[in-house]
């Protein structure tokens, strides 16, 4: 059943760019990676980071700088960007894991705002205009100028990221994270070095968030302040909740719907898009906390009459 779903999604993903505007699809994939990375933290470790835009946008700036100013090949820039995001994640994480719950969210938010100001004021980032005109270059000999080629590269990147995150969640490491999420004191008393686990989860999540940001930068050829603004951190929270916190496919579903919606609404609604996103946020939090995938699975299980199944994997 599960394998069938994944196969169908894989085929859809491979065929879709021939029917739908590839740039929109690429944007969706980038945000899907971003949301999956975020979900690793919120859904499987119980840490609500409100600063993931810093890694998403920060890595985009770093990669952009490597490509545009240092004229390095795209492959090197991607690796450099991901490493920089991991480093940022390590720095932010080491501070943030000193506090829990709401404080954790506020600390990550504040540190991300610091990154925002750095991007705004540093001499190399282009200030208010952002870093414009970053060439896509080529990847392993493939020229990325063509949207369709870039799409398949990003699609491959998405599958890789998805598999690694999937593997992480189902590894012994992932199980410890879940234990920490459920009962931190008990995990400590069982002898797990909880801060170390949290920090590693944070770094992995930051690295993949950065990866997503870099891919988005390649698609649009620019890195701007929007990518590091706290609205972006909020967007990824929304996508994850909307799709389903702590579900494997939830973030993918959530980001697909939210990005498509944003894309459709931008022309007709203008600034009201923010209002609509806010309303979706409020509704999700009030009555739809399991998200689309979470609710669907719950419904499916109710239909089968198996009420006492363990939590959805």
């Amino acid at each position: 059943m599960r394998i069938a779903i994944y196969l169908i999604l894989l085929i859809i993903g491979a065929v879709l760019p021939h029917f739908v505007y590839p740039v929109l699809l690429m944007k969706i994939l980038c945000f899907a990676i971003f949301a999956c990375a975020f979900n690793l933290l919120l859904g499987f470790s119980g840490l609500l980071s409100f600063g993931h835009a810093a890694f998403f946008g920060g890595a985009a700036y770093v990669s952009g700088y490597l490509i545009k100013n240092l004229e390095l090949p795209t492959e090197v820039a991607i690796i450099g960007g991901v490493l920089s995001a991991a480093l940022m994640g390590w720095l932010v994480g080491i501070l943030a894991i000193r506090r829990q719950g709401i404080y954790f969210a506020m600390v990550t938010l504040a540190l991300a705002q610091m990154v925002y100001f750095i991007c705004l004021e540093a001499p190399i980032t282009g200030g208010e205009d952002g870093m414009q005109g970053i060439p896509r270059g080529s990847f392993l000999g493939l020229s990325l100028k063509d949207d369709l080629t870039l799409y398949y590269v990003i699609f491959t990147g998405f599958i890789l990221a998805f598999l690694i995150i999937y593997r992480t969640i189902h590894s012994p490491f992932g199980q410890v994270l879940k234990a920490i999420r459920e009962n931190e004191s008990r995990a400590i008393s069982l002898g797990y070095d909880v801060p170390k686990y949290k920090l590693l989860a944070f770094v992995i999540s930051a690295a993949f968030a950065g990866f997503a940001g870099i891919l988005k930068m390649l698609v649009f050829n620019f890195a701007t302040l929007t990518d590091v603004h706290w609205h972006m951190s909020g967007d990824v929270v929304l996508m994850t909740i909307f799709g389903g916190i702590g579900t494997i496919l939830g973030p993918v579903v959530g980001s697909s719907i939210i990005i498509t919606l944003e894309d459709q609404l931008t022309d007709s609604a203008g600034d009201m898009v923010t209002v609509i996103m806010g309303v979706i946020f409020v509704v999700c939090v009030l009555i739809f906390r399991k998200g689309i995938v979470g609710e669907s699975v719950a419904l499916y299980q109710r239909m089968l009459g198996r009420k006492n199944l363990p939590q959805v994997k």
Binding site: L95, G101, Q113, G234, D271, T274, V282
Partner: protein, 295 residues
């Protein structure tokens, strides 16, 4: 001219004053956040948006109903307080049983709604609000000359902060409030209407944000984005001060305003990030915050 570390004394004074003005707003807002957090265990993300709405409320009162600054100083907080009560009754109330993080997320959604709405209605450029005649013009303090209005802002916010501190720490009503914060169930068992207190507390916290908004209207541009940058600095202030005490929120608010002002004099490039750097340092040295209690 007298100089300190190569900075003219006058420039130092004026930045210190500006820092104190900013600090007054940090203090008022972090006070509201602390009061709300104490009672509801929720961080009110919409605080910045509600502060912005306070400023717009003053502007609308003037342009639509010809109600001046001092009228707005009273009416706007009441209106905002009522909005806060509605938010608590109809939305927040449903989240007390689930993880407190959902409260943060809900108020985040509200912040998006308010900000998006005002932006679509007023654009990003904003409106101007004149300083009231009574408070217009400079005043000579002997060692420096500053606009009267800035002095007024510092004075009023100090009065409001200290009054709030007094009510919460020294009066009977405040003791109920503190009891309900400590142990809501037991307080309820003693016959005190805790849900009502929760509602009024949230309303009061929001009213404080509204008041800060009215006070900010003549100084800063009345714009839909005015709260969005401020709220994150205030969050950092709250992390630095810790949520433990009301006084802590006030002192760290004012203190950080001054530090920011001084940074503007001595090393301008750092002025927008200094609060976050201090937050990082405090987290390393004293994770619970300067005035916080470790749980």
């Amino acid at each position: 001219m007298i100089e300190i570390f190569g900075v003219p004394l006058m420039a130092l004074y004026s930045q210190l004053m500006l820092g104190l003005v900013n600090g007054s707003f940090y203090a008022l807002l972090s006070l509201g956040l602390a009061v709300i957090f104490g009672m509801l265990n929720i961080i009110n993300f919409a605080h910045g948006a509600l502060y912005m709405m306070g400023a717009f409320c003053a502007w609308m009162l003037l342009s639509l109903f010809n109600v001046g600054y001092f009228g707005a100083l009273i009416i706007a907080p009441i209106i905002l307080g009522l909005i806060g009560i509605l938010i608590e009754r109809f939305l927040l109330k449903w989240l007390y049983q689930v993880d407190h993080l959902y409260g943060l997320l809900l108020t985040f959604g509200l912040a998006l709604i308010f900000e998006g709405y005002f932006r679509s209605k007023f654009g990003v450029s904003g409106e101007t609000y004149d300083v009231p005649d009574l408070l217009d013009g400079p005043v000579n303090l002997g060692f420096m000359v500053i606009p009267k209005y800035r002095l007024w802002v510092i004075f009023l916010s100090l009065v409001v902060c200290l009054l709030t501190w007094f009510v919460i720490e020294k009066t009977r009503l405040g003791s109920y409030l503190r009891a309900a914060t400590e142990n809501p169930k037991l307080t309820q068992a003693f016959g005190i209407n805790v849900p009502l207190m929760v509602m009024l507390t949230y309303g009061f916290g929001v009213a404080l944000a509204g008041l800060a908004g009215v006070m900010a209207a003549p100084i800063y541009q009345v714009s839909p984005l005015m709260g969005s940058h401020l709220i994150i600095i205030v969050f950092a202030v709250v992390v630095i001060g810790g949520m433990g005490s009301i006084m802590g929120a006030i002192v760290s608010g004012l203190g950080l305003g001054i530090v920011e002002g001084l940074t503007k004099v001595f090393y301008p490039p750092l002025s927008s990030t200094v609060v976050f750097i201090i937050m990082a340092l405090v987290l390393i040295v004293r994770p619970a915050g300067l005035f916080g209690r470790e749980k």
